[in-house]
Symmetry: D3
């Protein structure tokens, strides 16, 4: 296990994201194991672990950029799930997605809200366990 | 002048952005005056002025989403110029653009860096006057 | 209820679109009620209600732009459903989607046709009730 | 000269567009002559010449779809220049570009307006000769 | 049947692609028969049949461009299915999709891999019959 | 200098691309030196150096994906300049760009041809020195 990979897993742990952990040994990993490793090494090990931005800012940026692209629903869900682990509230996620309408149009914003509907309905669900 | 427009100008003032002020009576305003007004009213008066996110977060989101789209160089420059007014340092802008490479590819990130090259070269220029 | 909202609902009524009416109190409205209101106020109240273009032209533009974006299937369906209310025939919708292939490629056009397949199969279904 | 090519040139003539005529023997034609021919044959000869939509509708669709894509400034200019030949007024072109902001965001609309600024400044220039 | 159509079917046969054959008389053909014909005539009859590139190169290009666009899952599947008929191995398809991450970002590459997951799981399935 | 960086430079050398070499110490490197290094390490050191695809195939994929995105003119030029070093002829580059029209529309293909016009005019220029 490379240092970059270890650093990537450290970041993933701080994001407390089961989806991310699951990703390492799932679908993509099955057909493209080197690529799954590279995502952890490069995205999380190389970029996310840099200190110039805190993880809260990085997750806001991820949510904004993914919603803006219009075709990244699954990745958007992963980062919306991580949001609460770094102190981003649901109301803030909704606000980010609304702002994206300015830059990428209403369909991108509306589809992003729909893609994450279940993750954003219960006001408390992102900051504590949902019963 | 509508309340929404006034609220929009208030936000623009906090962003201390001459480009933005210029925009109100320039190019676009000349051929589409109602649209220039709507941008101020809707983008800044309706959305930016909401309290769920502070302006620092909103400008990070703007920079991320605009860079991610790949075709919004002029708008990206406006928001990179506003960044320092809300406490975002140049090194942070660079870091946001680097992170966008993950979601929209290297060309989008490289072109965003090139589009804002002059705004990002001098390390101090965004946080205090450049001589 | 603001004047802008009322004007937006007036337009929605002319589009005789249940989907649109439904939208006001549904999915998005549940997690982002202010955004659902803004869509009605801004999209329909501010822009669609302007007299420079008739609603038939506006719906053609909506269908063309949504299909061109490649990621707006749900919104495309809403506007294809409204098309008949403003005198656009099914054959014309198909023709618009075919033309979009020129600007955004065949996949965007083919996926738009597939997204609206059920709305476009019966020749009469858009201009009178389908039994 | 194929029938499809001749039909394409007929359409181009109705659009009274020097840019289009110029295109046939210019830049692209020099390095990709077969492609320049295919554009005339397929875009104008096969699609535009179909009777299901009149040329006025087709040009509205072209302007909407090209502005929506965000990266088609040169092609947008060609079609904005053709607009007056098929009875579309400048104020209508501006209105189409404003509406595109809904679907593709403000930057796409603002850049489209800027790309065509000189074509849209004089109120009369599209409907009669500019002195 | 035009010469262009016949040439298009010849290419389709070399791609040994049932999906493609199916496409001719299916969904899209039902609501837009002229468009289904044009796809065969223009895409396969006019472009693919040109000798400047062999079909193996053309399918690599198709897979790269479709994955890069981020919204062409169904078309990507058609071309990944054709890949083996022109000598492209599964490992090469995976490698193309990985490389696309550089130009269009990780989500486009990850979604392309997910869209074609079943076509890429069994190592032998593209080069000989799967039992 | 990391192994990954060294491997990246090796690939760059095979592409015999001055633009690429220039990139290492230029514009982007000035404001984002870590990012310039990461591009070499990740794009060329990690991905391009993998043996599953030869460099000729990789450059075809790069050209197709970059043209398809519609907003990567500068990067497209870099790879079109590298094309001849790996045995891709100008006529083949033109053919790739023509094929991209199918997937991303005519404007993307036409703009790609225009972006690389000077690199594609002289028939011999890519395969031997131009006087």
């Amino acid at each position: 296990m490379s240092d970059r990979y270890r650093r990537g897993l450290d970041v993933a742990e701080q994001l407390a994201n089961d989806k991310l952990a699951h990703f390492v040994k799932s679908g993509v990993a099955e057909i493209a194991p080197d690529f799954a490793r590279m995502v952890i090494e490069f995205a999380f090990g190389d970029l996310y672990s840099r200190e110039s931005l805190d993880l809260r800012s990085r997750e806001m940026i991820a949510i904004a950029a993914l919603a803006a692209s219009g075709h990244a629903g699954p990745q958007l869900r992963v980062h919306v799930e991580s949001a609460s682990s770094v102190g981003i509230e649901k109301a803030e996620v909704v606000e980010i997605l609304m702002q994206v309408a300015l830059y990428s149009g209403f369909p991108a914003a509306l589809n992003a809200l729909a893609d994450c509907h279940d993750l954003l309905t219960d006001d408390n669900c992102l900051t504590r366990a949902c019963g």
